[in-house]
Amino acid sequence: MNAQSARRFNVIGAVLSVLTVLAAVLWAFPIYWGIVSSLKPEDEVVRPYIELWPDNLTFSHYVHAITQTQIGRWYLNSVITAVGTTVITVFTSLLCGYALSQLRFPGRRPLYWLILASFMVPTQTLIINHFVLVANMGLLNSWAGIILPQLIHPVIIIIYKQFFDQMPRDFREAAAMDNASELAILFKVFVPMNWGVTTALAIVTFIWSWNAFLWPFLAATRTEWMTITVGITQVNDAFGVYYARELAAAVLAGLPVALAYLLFQRRVTQAITLSAGIKG
């Protein structure tokens, strides 16, 4: 390649980079626009021209959302159901993944195939029967009722199994020589050595559960039991439409998951690629 064509290639490269940045800005713009609109007084929001920054910056819509709506209660419901789903899902999957990977017992193969087969089952088709089940248990409008059908994430078991499969056999055998019990091996050797993957899986399970819509929407028939993702779209102001107020509520609803992603970007990426069956 001669000098001239190298320079031409660099020019193309620079143009491509600039285009990428422009595309990224345009891509993220609706999110920015939502946030900025939530910081404007209502009369500024509906002006017939575009203002990229508020003339009079105001947090009044946030104050309104927090003090005048049930958003605090919805936040609590979301935190409890998302944390509950995460803890129970990750813990039970960890135990099951360990048994599948390290122990020999009758029915191990069929169990493994059953879990793999369940990847295909669309849980959205089970909503009727989940509703009947949860109603019969008396758990509609309760945290337990919102959590229960969300506890199926077979992929997490498979990821744990893969990670435990890669552990050197010596660890288990050395520990077994010391007469350590099976549970001690799991919690003192296997869990600490795979702490990274547990963190990653916990973060994405939390994000999935926080973002869940269909089931929490069905399970909460009374407004005080709605999670935030349901509440902000199902309960409207009695007096007309206030765009900035709605957007302030949306920003509050998205904040925890956006922060979780920005703080743990690498872990989220790892868990997502793992969940698609690609080694991160």
Binding site: L126, N129, L214
Partner: protein, 293 residues
């Protein structure tokens, strides 16, 4: 090492018991229950009588079922391949960058994926607002007549597909980036020694090596979009839900709005069957393709 088989069995049982209990309760039992329910005329809550296959035969002339089926197919057509293509473009663009700059640009493309559907709905409902939405300024600028996008039958599904691509393609971008990183740099060095241009390098090196990831992305997208509900439901609020029906929406409508558990279950079984068939076909095709290579 001597294994105590019985002791090992006992511990294994203890470890898998919590999972099995949950799995049986919220997975296996509801699945069986769904099939049984579909042969009855039961309401949402309560007993019903056995009606044979009536709930299924009625679907043939059910206009709303037809709408739901074709809208789902239309939505899949508008979202799966275009969404994967957009993700591939973005991944290729992002993969050229490096370091913190790359992380920043990737975050901007990825951020929508992390947000709950209700936030996506509120943002776009505002952006596309007929009176005050910023997208309408763009319409004015381009000389297109303003339309209340989510209130029209023609534009509803395309608009929701567009927003869905914007929302979910971050996931596919990550998979493509992982795939691009897995391609050894030596191959690109060899290509540049051969004076291969950008396009030749892409079409002869990147594309073939990336094909397994592309197929994976298409598969995941296809199965995901068949099950669409949230966006369609939210954007239909105050619009024309009956024209915008998709499969899961129809299940919801029959069960929770018309109180017809049995008829809804029949629709659920049909969707269940479609998703399983698509999954199995996909798996077989991927396996055959894998063997050929």
């Amino acid at each position: 090492m001597i294994r105590d088989a019985r002791k090992e069995w006992g511990i294994a049982l203890l470890l898998i018991a919590p999972f099995l209990a949950i799995y049986g309760l919220v997975f296996i039992y509801p699945t069986i229950d769904m099939f049984l329910l579909s042969f009855t005329d039961a309401p949402l809550i309560g007993e019903g009588d056995y009606v044979g296959t009536e709930n299924y035969t009625r679907l043939v002339d059910d206009r709303r079922f037809g709408t739901a089926f074709w809208n789902t197919a239309y939505f899949v057509a508008l979202s799966v391949v275009p969404g994967t293509a957009v993700a591939l473009f973005i991944a290729l663009a992002v993969s050229r960058l490096s370091g913190r700059f790359q992380a920043l640009i990737l975050a901007m493309f990825f951020l929508p994926y992390i947000l709950p559907v209700s936030v996506i709905y509120l943002i776009w409902d505002w952006t596309m607002n007929f009176q005050f939405g910023i997208a309408m300024h763009v319409y004015d600028l381009l000389g297109i007549e303003r339309i209340p996008v989510f209130k029209t039958t023609t534009w509803f599904i395309p608009a929701v597909a567009f927003i869905t691509i914007w929302w979910t393609c971050g996931f596919n971008i990550l998979l493509f980036l992982a795939g691009l990183r897995a391609i050894p740099t030596e191959i690109y060095e060899a290509a540049s020694l051969d004076n291969a241009g950008r396009w030749r390098t892409f079409s002869r090196v990147t594309w073939p090596l990336l094909w397994p990831i592309t197929a994976l992305n298409l598969t995941i997208q296809l199965i995901l979009q068949l099950k669409i509900f949230d966006q369609v439901y939210l954007f239909s609020q105050g619009g024309r839900p009956n024209d915008n029906l998709v499969m899961v929406y129809y299940i919801f409508q029959r069960a929770f709005q018309s109180n017809q558990g049995g008829r809804a279950a029949a629709v659920a079984v049909v969707l269940f069957g479609i998703v399983i068939i698509v999954s199995v076909l996909n798996f077989q095709i991927m396996r055959l393709a894998g063997r050929k290579q």
